[in-house]
Symmetry: C2
Subunit: 146 residues, 2 copies
Amino acid sequence: MKLSSLADYAIVLMGAAARHCGGVRVSAAMLAAETGVPVPTAQKIVSLLTRAGLLRATRGTGGGIQLARPAAAISLADIVEAIEGPIAMAACVDVGRTEGSAQCALEGSCKVQPHWGAVNGAIKSALGQVSLASLSRDHNTTGAAA
Amino acid sequence: MKLSSLADYAIVLMGAAARHCGGVRVSAAMLAAETGVPVPTAQKIVSLLTRAGLLRATRGTGGGIQLARPAAAISLADIVEAIEGPIAMAACVDVGRTEGSAQCALEGSCKVQPHWGAVNGAIKSALGQVSLASLSRDHNTTGAAA
DNA sequence: CCTCAATCGGATCAAATCGTTCCGATTGCG
DNA sequence: CGCAATCGGAACGATTTGATCCGATTGAGG
């Protein structure tokens, strides 16, 4: 029930990248120095993010990375899905479970499966509500909370 | 962003146990046979659940396990927390972070931390809405979805 | 009262995944 | 044309997770 450190770092990294969005292209190492994330790890995360289409990478001297989409159009769900893969917590909630990899071994008896869909949707919604733009703003107690 | 197999199995196991709640005490092996979960794994899960206070275990011949609380009073959040530990996805959202174990190394720069609280609360709420009693009912498309 | 059987409980071991690190390919500039 | 800086991918190690096994406890039966 906890997301991996990669995704956690990825969010911080993206938040830092959002601040340089309109500016010059920043390198992964520069972003790492800003956020405090280990340089090699930051590089890997940037690679993942770039492959997912969330970041735009420019190679060569003076190159760097920049947001491929506006900060308001990138949500935590996008980042998490880019790193952790599709958000499916029960393995039965996979988007395209066509061939089915052994499933739960008890497809019929599993009364929980239909409910997971709703829970999964709620979680994705919660993550989709928060965008990079929200992270830049001062934490004005976004949405009541608990 | 996906919960471990233990928690997944635990929910199925609890759902099966809920059906025998008012009946006789069932053994962990019997529950495992019903749900299809590997017997040793089911035993371990039952131990975890019992230690968490969600299940009541009776030793000796003819013993077994039973729900310690009514099915309606047990939610998915309880089960998940019993297996996976407290629901904190960023490691900064820990309930009692007094001494702090190295934190994120960038406490001040982390603009994400306050937002995680809201997201975490939303997820816990989503998991808290579904109870064991809900799992017993036919999946009447609980809550719109998507 | 003793023996036996069945059960939970914890400890152990292996596997998979995750996280970190390093090296190579590519590209722009001097 | 050479160099330097950057991303990209691959390899290694560590940690956590998952499955298995054996021992302690308890009840029933003889």
